[in-house]
Every structure is written in C-alpha cells, then in structure tokens.
C-alpha cells in the first residue's frame, strides 16, 4: 500500500484563506509575502518569453550572482514589487514549501499554484545603463544593481563577521555567494566604476528615485567600523557631484554605528536615510542567530545606536530591518507564532516610540546559509506581523518613504502604508 504523503499545505492556511482572514490587508501584499517566502520557479515557455532586452536578467550583488534568462524580480499589477529567488522544488533548499510557478496564459506571464492562475505578473525593466561599460572596462551591471526605481551599491561584497569563524548571521548567504564568485569578482568594488555607473544610470529619465548603499560589515579601523564609515563617505562624496541639492533620497543599510560615526555620515554627505538591521526582535534569539552582531556590538547597544541615529537623521529617516519568520527557527527560536507575534510587536513598539521604524523582510530559506535546511514561517503569521507593524506605523505617525514600495519594494508592512 502506498504511504500517503503529508503535505505542508495541510498544516497552514492557504493564500485564499489568509486573504479572507485579513479583509483589510491588501491581497497583492499577501500574495507578495507568500511568493517571497516560497520563491518561484518558471516553466520553459515562461523562460522563453522573457526578453533580455526589455527585462532585467543579469545580477551581481552581495546575496546572489546570475547571468541567465531568469528575471531579477517581479512586479504585480498594482506596482507591488517582489524579490523572489528562483527555487528548484527538488533542491532541498525550499524552506519546506513548494514555489509558485510562473507560466504563460493568454500570452501573459502569470503566477500559478497547483495549476491554477493566481495573478498576472510582470518583470523588473532592464535599465539603460546595463549594457554600458565603465572606463576601466567593467560592464556596469556588475557594479550597480537595479530595482525598478532604486539603484543599489554593494561596495564590500563579503562580510567580516564570516571571517570570525561562526560569527556570520545564520540566515545569510553572503559568504557562500562570495566564495562561489570570488574568481570572477573583487571583494571590494572600485569606487570610480560605481560612480561612473551611477552617473550613467541617472541619465535615464523617470527611472530612479533612490540610491541605496548596502554591504557586508567591515569591522576594521581605528575604532570599530571606522573603515566602513570611510568607505561609505568616500562613495557618497563621489555621488554628490551628480546633484545640485545638498541632500537627496539615499539610504544606507549598514552595521550600527556609534554617535561620532553617525554624525560624520549626516554632516559630511548627501545621505538622508539610515538603516541598521537588527534582524531579530528578541535579544536571546538575536544572540543565537546573529552571533557576530551580538559579539561586536550587542543587542541593547544596537538599539541605542538606532535611537541616536533617529535623533540625528530626523523623523521617518531611520529604521531597522528584520528577517521576519527567522525568529521561529528551531531549536532556539520562539516556540509558537503567538508568542513571536506578541513579543516581536512589543519590541517594534519600543523602537517606534524612539522614532525607529521596522522594515519587515520575509524570511526565505537561502541556499548556502547556515539555516539552509530550515522552514519558512506561515503566511498567516507573516501577514499578522505586517498588519501589526502597519498599525504601529500609523499609531506613531511614521512615514515609510525611505523604504517603501518604490524606494525598496521588499517590505510587506511598508507596502501597506500606500493607503
């Protein structure tokens, strides 16, 4: 007798059930959340329909590297963007779930699940600068990443926490990505290459609204992180030549800096938005999942630095990213979704009281990370968390413009701030 196979679908609410349970949460944002946690795969005809001249398909960043015909990202009809990695169902790195499948129906790309069409989908457009080359001969797509409206500069393509054995964040694939690609890329991008690519990207009318800088942690210097600060100030100084305004929409996602370093960033550069990702909203679980951050800075100090940043950069300009769902990972995560929700949102409220927003990034199990065989959280939980964060944003009148559906596009809770 064939053994009946238990499916993950029997253990949790489906997309439609979650949409019904949260009638005031955007169904597009719930779908995005589900696609992010489960990933996507493509049928061959969907891949054949991708147009590499129109759709962005090449990518070199800190968390992944690709040069194929798979789109870099998705966009829904309402403008919601989705960062979803391609997941091959049989890979064993699928977070315990099956990915959505992108197929073609009536000549259009569609997201499907179990053979049913869920929603039409588009791809991130290829920016004009992708095919250009810097004066040193580097293809510009290799030194500047593009989302639909944001350019991303990943200066340091490795992370020093991984150089201190066992200290890397357990969900993070940066070290695996770097070691896979180190024969073809440098650990640190050339500032001039990046500056030239940014100048070229800015020539495309109506394309970009934000420049974001994000790298692995660079711990060295006279004082901890001084090298990291110098790196960003050098880059931002080169970028300011493109603008007549003193401050422009820019965001740094970095390690949490001390007050002196924060003031330098604020006073010496065009930078307007500051983010230091705490990743997990609980001290004990943070210590387990982010041992490097815990060892070199510490959970309470991380928060204190965020509060200082909020004072320096002003209202709405500072937030912290969380890897939503990783706090439930076994064996040391929260034991239940109820407890995780209650404690996580209480911690988010404390941050909000100090003027620090929370940007929810959906945890998707990443190949090459320490947690690569773990399970993603349920859609019900992630939606409840997004709704909880959105309620806090409204209660504390926090703006999300530095990390919203356009300037980032990776956070369900800031997507909800559109209405």
């Amino acid at each position: 007798m064939a053994e009946s196979k238990h499916s993950w679908r029997e253990d949790e609410l489906s997309l439609q059930e979650v949409i019904k349970k949260y009638p005031d949460v955007s169904p597009f944002v719930i779908l995005k959340t589900d696609v992010q946690r489960r990933g996507v795969d493509f049928t061959q005809r969907a891949i054949d329909a991708v147009d590499p001249d129109r759709d962005a398909v090449v990518y070199r960043g800190i968390y992944s590297e690709k040069n194929d015909r798979i789109p870099n990202g998705l966009i829904l009809r309402d403008g919601t963007t989705i960062l979803a990695d391609r997941v091959v169902p049989s890979s064993g790195f699928n977070g315990g779930r099956d990915p959505y499948l992108i197929d073609i129906a009536d000549g259009k790309a569609v997201l499907t699940d179990e053979g049913k069409v869920i929603e039409e989908v588009g791809y991130w457009p290829k920016p004009d600068y992708f095919d250009k080359v810097t004066s040193s001969g580097k293809p510009m797509w290799q030194v500047l990443v593009a989302r639909p409206q944001r350019m991303d500069i990943n200066l340091y393509q490795n992370c020093d926490f991984w150089k201190d054995i066992g200290m890397g964040c357990k969900f993070c694939p940066i070290a695996a990505t770097y070691s896979k690609t180190k024969n073809i890329k440098r650990e640190h991008l050339d500032y001039q290459d990046v500056a030239e690519a940014v100048a070229e990207a800015l020539k495309q009318p109506g394309r970009f609204r934000m420049i974001q800088l994000c790298s692995g942690s660079l711990l060295g210097g006279k004082e901890l992180l001084d090298d990291e600060i110098d790196q960003y100030i050098t880059m931002l100084k080169l970028l300011e030549k493109n603008f007549s305004h003193k401050k422009v929409m820019t965001q740094l996602i970095s390690t949490a800096h001390n007050e002196r370093q924060l003031r330098r960033l604020h006073e010496e550069t065009i930078l307007t938005g500051y983010t230091a990702d705490i990743e997990v909203l609980n001290e004990e679980i943070f210590n387990w999942i982010c041992p490097g951050k815990a060892k070199y800075i510490g959970y309470q100090e991380w928060k204190r630095r965020l509060y200082q940043a909020a004072e320096i950069f002003g209202p709405g300009a500072v937030n912290t990213g969380i890897v939503s769902g990783v706090e439930l990972v076994k064996p040391n995560g929260f034991r239940s979704e109820e407890e995780a929700l209650e404690k996580g949102l209480a911690e988010a409220e404390e941050l909000a009281r100090h003027g620090v927003g929370v940007a929810q990034t959906v945890y998707r199990v990443a190949e090459g990370s320490y947690f690569q065989k773990q399970k993603a959280a349920s859609l019900d939980y992630l939606t409840a968390f997004a709704k909880g964060l959105d309620t806090l944003q409204r209660r504390y009148r926090q703006e999300a413009y530095f990390d919203d559906y356009r300037t980032c596009g990776n956070h369900p809770n800031t997507d909800l701030a559109r209405i």
Partner: protein
C-alpha cells in the same frame, strides 16, 4: 464587466477642452473629487490617468480601489455642456517601464523641469451614463411619469 467606449466618447474624453473629474473614496468610504485634466483613453480603450503627486489623496484612494476592487468614477463635461459619468475599476498602476517613462518625459515637457510623475493609472471602464440635465430629466419622466408637484400637471 468592462465595456467598450465608442469612438465619439473616446474623442470627447481625449479632447483637451473637455472638463474631467475623478471621484474616489478612501478605506472609510470618504469621497474625494478632483478635476483631472490628464484623464484620457488609451489605445486599448481603457481610461488612463496620470497621477503627478505620489502622496495625494487620489493616489491613495486609487491604491485602495485596485487592492479591494472598488469602483471610481470619472465625470465628463463637454464644451457644449453634455455631461457623462463613467464608472470603472483601477486595474493597473504603472510605476516603471516604457509606458511610465514615455509619460514621465511628456509630463515634464508640458509642466516644466520641476514636474514629476508618480503613476500611470489604468482604469477599466465598466459603466457609462449620460448625466446631461435634459437627458436625465426626460429619462425620469419616462420611467416615473407621476413623480412631481401636482401644480405642474
């Protein structure tokens, strides 16, 4: 269900001299009506509206409408005082890509270097009704011949 606008209606909507208003509502149902000269009909027969201001109430309401499938209404007043209302549902918010960039350039050419574009909204027309006073009045007279003050009869 979407409807096909006829050629005459398309010409009226695309006439820059026609006055157009867009009515939308927020999540609490609070109405918001504004004059919107940028409403037009695109090559697919859909209504297209260029939202210039990202943080405007109309933009928020249109997001609410596309998320929860709520109708909006476009009012048309022609130069010769004919008056129409088209109800429809936003089906697409274009924030990047070829169509967006083409309109971004056009908006800046028209309104100057300080102008920006937030979203190209595509609205599926679902219902059209003439609201010109004389047409409305004769419609009522035909359907409800007994309604009215007796001294009129």
């Amino acid at each position: 269900m979407s409807i096909q606008l006829n050629d005459q209606m398309i010409a009226l909507i695309n006439d820059p001299k026609t006055l157009k208003v867009l009515a939308s509502a927020d999540q609490d149902g609070i109405p918001h009506v504004v004059f919107k000269g940028s409403v037009s009909v695109n090559a697919d027969g859909k209504l297209q509206y260029l939202e210039i201001i990202e943080t405007s109430q109309t933009n928020r309401n249109l997001v609410h409408s596309i998320w929860f499938r709520r109708q909006v209404a476009v009012g048309i007043l022609t130069q010769d005082s004919r008056n129409y209302q088209i109800k429809g549902t936003p089906v697409r918010a274009v924030i990047c890509g070829e169509l967006f960039e083409k309109n971004y350039i056009a908006v800046r050419e028209r309104f100057g270097k300080d102008a920006d574009l937030s979203t190209v909204w595509i609205i599926d027309p679902e219902e059209i009704r003439e609201e010109t006073f004389s047409v409305q009045a004769s419609r009522e007279r035909e359907a409800y011949p007994l309604i009215g003050h007796l001294d009129r009869f």
